[in-house]
Amino acid sequence: MTPPFAEQLNLRLCHCCRLACPADESAANCPRCGSPLHMRKPNAIARTWALMLAALVFYIPANVLPIMHTDALYRESSTTILGSVVTLWQGGAWDIAAIIFIASVGVPVTKFLVLGLLLITVQRGSLRSRRERTVLYRALELIGYWSMLDVFVAALLVSLVQFGVFGTIEPRLGILFFGLVVVLTMLAAQSFDPRLIWDTEPRNE
């Protein structure tokens, strides 16, 4: 015996103040705070797809373009994310390399895969392992922040390390795209409504 859905009780939850409102056509707005009322996040699947695809497109220049330009002691070099990972690994700093790799490649790719998986299963109305998928979604929200690591590292380096005579570090276009990827994937994760995972059940009953 599963607990009833809000819809079954003819109720809608306000997105803003969590007031349970009656789900009739007269009340399009929350009587308490005035926010528009929806049964689910409006147009969630299309929005998530759109934002995720945009993030995927930007993910290419984020990896191909250099994120930093260092000019130290006559040696100029532009570093891409993967390039810096390789350099760090070869230089023996495999722990830092691993962290950067996870933050810049592991996290976004995981996000893309998880979001894609959730979207496809929801669209197909799959009933399999819905609990696990919900856990996946929670994990998705949790790791979202950590993919900002690269942007922070680059921003920190750029602002802290100004060698002056010995050299400078300047940000390059790649870091902008990387930031966009992070923002877009976070927005995509946010616009997804995890309740959709559970929506299929009653109709199949």
Binding site: N43, A50, A54, R75, S77
Partner: protein, 549 residues
């Protein structure tokens, strides 16, 4: 969207959501794709040609790190470094920028810039820090190519570099090499581009390149000479050290200039031919004209007369000694010294022209000079060995008229011309000194000797410092002076013992001592100067650099 959903939701909501969803949210990936596409187009637009360059060795070239540069501006990047299939070459692939498309001309040149210590000096030091890079030089050809053979050393002259090439004819190559510097007033203005043996085999043709705008200093009156080596000269002004930069001392170099008082220079075209003189002196000497050999026979020792010693006519240098040899006179059982010399009568200048007019114009040119000399001899011309330099004891030959000289017989057909000689004034001086020594037995000159001892001690001290601190080249020269000073000290000391304080000889000796003191002071000054400016040994003295020395 499942059918159930459609069933549940009224149509109104669906229409609303579709309009919003399609019109706004999908704008985001659309913009992303547009941005990506524009970047792709930009990258494709910026991408220039790819060139493949073969080198003997890759040095420290690295893919995606080593740039391709022209005038120190990055015009591309090495994308891969590979071995050729036969493992004999290294194939470097470089991606050039779009604006560098002119570097695919068939005669474009590529070479690797790495630190080099070569004839052209030390170059590419910055690559020690930044790693090797490929330097490029665009060609002029109309044909395009994608494969190039890289040069193993930088080309001496890059295309399009403004300037002129000149041909020099030299006796031998000396220490010159491709890249050896060309100096004008000790400023580097060009370099040796190539050299080859003359077809006849009796000389070397050296091609040089002088960069604009300094090529305008090469004019019709310009003389070129070999600028390698340190030239230490002892003159009346003291010790003179003349050297170009250390590089030219080590690696050879060529300097050029114009003799003072030359005709107003006229510009020369590129490719003009010049003679390369061995040394500055001869290069800048006025035009000598044909040489005439003369011979002199001395009956006294001529220690100090060496090959190359000057032959003066009335105080003007007109030639040099070519050989000094001993002869044996079986009749008188003596050893006369035979001195051969080469004289250039044209060096007499205006006098020569006027003299020529007096000689029978009909005679052959070769016969004019001997005739002239024979006439001079008849008028009392005599050769005399004189001391040119008190310190070094070097002699020179003076040709002067002595109206009181006895008549001389002239063999008009004898070649070389034989010039009669006179005993040198040095001999006379020695005779006089001997007489004096015999005459005056004992003279106290403690104060003078003490004074001189002091300055000589100082001199010796300075000498020691020089010996310790400075280059052996100057060392040798100064050691020679030191020895001379010692000799002189002995001579003067022995003379001092014998001279009367009131006699004129004693005064003359005092003057000589002053002279020695001055000398030691100037040596001391030189030593001081060298201690403060040791670079003078390498760069020459700044005064020398300014003047047309």
């Amino acid at each position: 969207m499942s059918d159930d959903q459609m069933y549940r939701e009224p149509g109104e909501a669906e229409v609303k959501s579709r309009r919003w969803g399609l019109s706004l949210v999908w704008l985001v990936p659309l913009v992303a794709v547009l941005v990506g596409l524009s970047m792709l187009i930009q990258a494709w637009h910026d991408a220039g040609p790819t060139v493949r360059i073969t080198f003997e060795t890759a040095g420290s070239l690295a893919a995606e790190k080593s740039p391709v540069k022209y005038r120190n501006v990055v015009i591309g990047e090495v994308t891969s470094v590979q071995l050729s299939e036969d493992h004999e070459k290294v194939i470097v692939t470089a991606q050039l920028n779009r604006e560098a498309s002119s570097f695919t001309r068939e005669d474009s040149r590529y070479w690797v810039v790495r630190p080099r210590v070569g004839t052209e000096g030390i170059s590419g030091l910055d690559t020690l820090l930044s790693g090797d890079f490929i330097a490029a030089d665009p060609g002029t050809s109309e044909q395009r190519s994608e494969t190039f053979k890289g040069l193993e050393s930088p080309p001496p002259v890059t295309y399009g570099e403004p300037g002129k090439r000149f041909q020099l004819k030299a006796q031998n190559l000396g220490s010159l090499d491709i890249g050896s510097p060309i100096y004008y007033r000790k400023v580097r203005v060009g370099q040796v581009v190539s050299y080859n043996l003359d077809d006849s085999g009796d000389g070397v043709n050296v091609a040089i390149f002088v960069t604009a705008p300094n090529d305008r200093f090469v004019t019709s009156g310009t003389r070129f000479w070999n600028a390698s080596g340190i030239d230490v000269g002892v003159s009346a002004n003291g010790v003179d050290i003349d050297a170009q930069s250390l590089i030219s001392v080590v690696a050879g170099g060529i300097a050029f200039g114009s003799p003072p008082g030359a005709d107003p220079p006229t510009p020369v075209k590129a490719g003009a031919e010049f003679q390369l003189f061995d040394e500055r002196e001869t290069a800048l000497a006025p035009s000598k004209g044909p040489a005439q050999r003369i011979r002199m026979r001395f009956t006294q020792s001529l220690r100090g007369l060496s090959e190359g010693a000057a032959v003066d006519f009335m105080g003007k240098r007109i030639g040099e000694v070519t050989s000094v040899s001993l002869d044996y006179d079986a009749q008188n059982k003596t050893f006369p010294v035979i001195v051969d010399a080469r004289v250039y009568p044209q060096l007499m200048g205006r006098a020569y022209d006027k003299l020529l007019a007096t000689v029978d114009a009909g005679s052959r040119e070769q016969e004019v000079i001997p005739k002239l000399f024979n006439r001079f001899v008849a008028q009392g011309l005599r050769a005399e060995a004189r001391t040119g330099n008190l310190l070094t004891g070097q002699l020179y030959l003076a040709l002067e008229f002595y109206p009181d000289a006895g008549p001389a017989t002239v063999d008009a057909n004898r070649r070389p011309i034989l010039i009669p000689t006179r005993p040198t004034s040095l001999d006379q001086l020695q005779d006089q000194l001997m007489a004096l020594v015999n005459k005056f037995s004992e003279i106290p000159l403690e104060s003078i000797a003490g004074n001189m001892d002091g300055s000589l001690a100082e001199l010796r001290q300075t000498m020691e410092q020089i010996n310790d601190d400075l280059l052996p080249a100057t060392d040798g020269a100064l050691q020679g002076i030191n020895d001379t000073m010692k000799n002189m000290q002995q001579t003067l000391a022995s003379a001092a013992e014998t001279l009367d304080p009131s006699s004129p000889e004693r005064q003359r000796l005092g003057l000589a001592l002053d002279e020695v003191e001055r000398m030691s002071r100037s040596v001391r000054e030189l030593a001081d100067y060298l201690r403060r400016h040791p670079e003078a040994l390498i760069q020459g003295r700044p005064e020398a650099a300014r003047g047309n020395r």
